[in-house]
Symmetry: C2
Subunit: 160 residues, 2 copies
DNA sequence: AAACTATACATCGTGAACGATCTAATAGCA
DNA sequence: TGCTATTAGATCGTTCACGATGTATAGTTT
């Protein structure tokens, strides 16, 4: 017993353009709800490590390259200081990293891993495999979705 | 000047499995950051309507079918009452909808659009078009990504 | 009827996300 | 030297998201 604003013909025309007001047809809701489902999987996997997904992302960045400025972490994760500062403080309280002002430019806060933060990389090795299993997709499928998303992201940021 | 834990050969083997610890290769981060970019586009488009993206999702659901229970809205959006109750209260305060207990079963709260909430559908017609333009993708591309994501979402929820 | 279970929401606490605004430090320049 | 602009973070207020828990109602069992 649904009430549509458009008649079926109009709706079909809009569907072809990908611009429907129907929830089930929107790419963005697919993105939103898939992200939520993915988050649920990660939460379960990360619980034993004691970190959240955004915190795990910060660790990924620092495992690739340690001793970054807050803004450099932000560039990689598309987050600004309003989000990162409290997040990093929580991680510092957990003993995963240290934050200290650079001597040569005291505006900068350098973030570096503690021994505990480094050691966690070993324990986190199982996480991507767990996600891979939960996804039930082939590596080729996953890579294909990923590359399409990255293309979409680039276009969205250009037009944002 | 990056420091990898794995040598290139190991990394390549893992890449093939889609289970790398490298940020740039993870589907999940592509999802996460693309969602954030999409959110940015929506925020701009929805600002003149005075609603947030999750509020817009609730409107989409109610425009398709009015007078739903809180839990029915939650099923469609994959959200629970802890998220929806305050969100719906804010929307009620904005005058977009009404919440009232069902007479026959007083556990249920029935959510129905006000005239203002219904009328907003007309003004929101431009939103999907705006997103479509910002995406810079063809309708076929968008539908393809969407369908891949929905498949992934179904598998993730099954294994969550 | 009393006791139990399930359902439908509400509440609480924590952790993001981000626009807007603030402060301190640095850089550029006359 | 001063003046301004820029940069790097921090802070504030609002909104989501969700696990855990509470509460009232409804249904079911004994």
């Amino acid at each position: 017993m649904y009430s549509f604003a458009m008649n079926p013909k109009q709706a079909s025309a809009r569907r072809k353009l990908g611009t429907s007001l129907l929830l089930g047809e929107q790419l963005c809701f697919a993105l939103y709800s898939t992200m939520a489902a993915m988050n649920k999987v990660y939460r379960r996997l990360l619980r034993e490590l004691g970190v959240t997904y955004p915190q795990y992302l910060v660790l990924l960045v620092l495992w690739e390259r340690d001793g970054l400025m807050v803004s450099e972490i932000g560039e990689r994760l598309f987050l600004d200081s309003a989000t990162l500062t409290p997040l990093l403080k929580r991680m510092e309280a957990l003993g995963l990293l240290r934050r200290k002002r650079a001597r040569d430019d005291e505006r900068q806060v350098i973030v570096s891993l503690t021994a505990q933060g480094l050691e966690m990389k070993r324990r986190a090795a199982a996480v991507p495999d767990g996600v891979f299993c939960a996804s039930g997709c082939t590596p080729v499928e996953l890579a294909s979705i990923r590359d399409h998303l990255l293309l979409l992201r680039a276009r969205l940021l250009k037009n944002a």
